[in-house]
């Protein structure tokens, strides 16, 4: 969809296809354990290497929604002075004169599971950008695509995450 409105100018639309700097992230057992405890996971494969190996994994395995950490942490790991007053990191967004941003839909395809020690290659792009008229005024939808690949070449995650701006 390429509908424009007051928020979505032709210049903003030209950001469709924009590729952000690629990231290479090392996943650690500690990150997986911290994430798993914080969601009150109980399955031992997400905490203990012996349990993971007994279940057929090479090592501790990340739970299915662990991709959220890989999509969030790199962009929020900045000098604290660069965080907004609300503690949220400034986003590198197309020029959209918005006041606030909200999380829209998150659609994820999961492939090979992420294991402690994996080095994950993350490609982030703007897959789509469009405007709509909401009840309280114009809305802009920025659809980010994250493709996360293991060093084996297997794809772990293909995510389309929409930010809604107004």
């Amino acid at each position: 969809m390429t509908a424009s409105n007051d928020l979505v100018t032709p210049e903003a639309l030209s950001w469709i296809g924009h590729r952000y700097p690629d990231r290479r992230l090392t996943v650690t057992e500690l990150q997986i354990q911290r994430f798993s405890h914080s969601t009150r996971e109980t399955n031992p494969v997400h905490f203990d290497g012996d349990a993971a190996r007994a279940a057929g994994y090479p090592d501790v395995v990340a739970p299915p929604t662990f991709y959220v950490m890989l999509r969030t942490a790199p962009y929020h790991t900045v000098p604290l002075a660069q965080l907004g007053q609300d503690g949220y990191a400034a986003e590198d967004l197309p020029p959209i004169p918005s006041i606030e941003g909200m999380a829209g839909e998150d659609r994820v395809e999961l492939g090979a599971e992420i294991i402690a020690g994996d080095v994950i290659f993350v490609v982030k792009r703007i897959a789509d950008l469009y405007g709509k008229r909401g009840r309280s005024g114009p809305l802009a939808f920025v659809v980010f695509e994250y493709e996360m690949t293991k060093s084996s070449g297997e794809r772990a995650v293909l995510e389309r995450f929409t930010r809604v701006l107004r």
């Binding site: 950490m69 942490a73 839909e105 998150d106």
Partner: protein, 140 residues
């Protein structure tokens, strides 16, 4: 070790998953926000969240609800069942210390692909749907 999982042949469209209640407290919100590497104050700073952002309390991160819903289906399905696809939307915010009812229902069964799709969602005490999700599981 024998894997314990639900027999795909016994799963019918329309089947309800056993529901669960989760009540994330301030420690849950802090631990999750920290584990995913962000410092967004609406998840741990109550004075800011209420006074400046005008929420009634600390906001539960959407992906934390998504994790609860993913756990609901994985526990129901059993050992060794993979999550193949996941999609979720937030309709209304969830707040700290408020019980979330996690509910689910089977919406599709594909015996050939060995996949089951469930609609799963969280509700607050007023039975309002907060986060709704569709999760597809794959049997080995």
């Amino acid at each position: 070790m024998t894997a314990r999982r639900r027999d795909l042949a016994t799963i019918a469209v329309g089947a309800l998953l056993p529901s669960e209640e989760r009540t994330p407290g301030p420690v849950d919100l802090f631990a999750f926000t920290s584990a995913i590497g962000m410092a967004h104050r609406i998840h741990y700073d109550q004075a800011f969240t209420v006074g400046v952002e005008r929420h009634r309390a600390l906001v539960v991160p959407g992906p934390l609800q998504a994790a609860y819903l993913t756990q609901l289906v994985r526990v129901w399905a059993g050992d060794g069942i993979r999550v193949a696809r996941l999609a979720y939307r937030h309709l209304s915010p969830a707040f700290v210390d408020e019980p979330l009812r996690c509910l689910g229902q089977v919406t599709a069964v594909d015996a050939r692909l060995k996949q089951v799709t469930c609609k799963v969602w969280t509700e607050n005490g007023a039975r309002e749907v907060l986060t709704t999700s569709e999760i597809t599981l794959r049997w080995p």
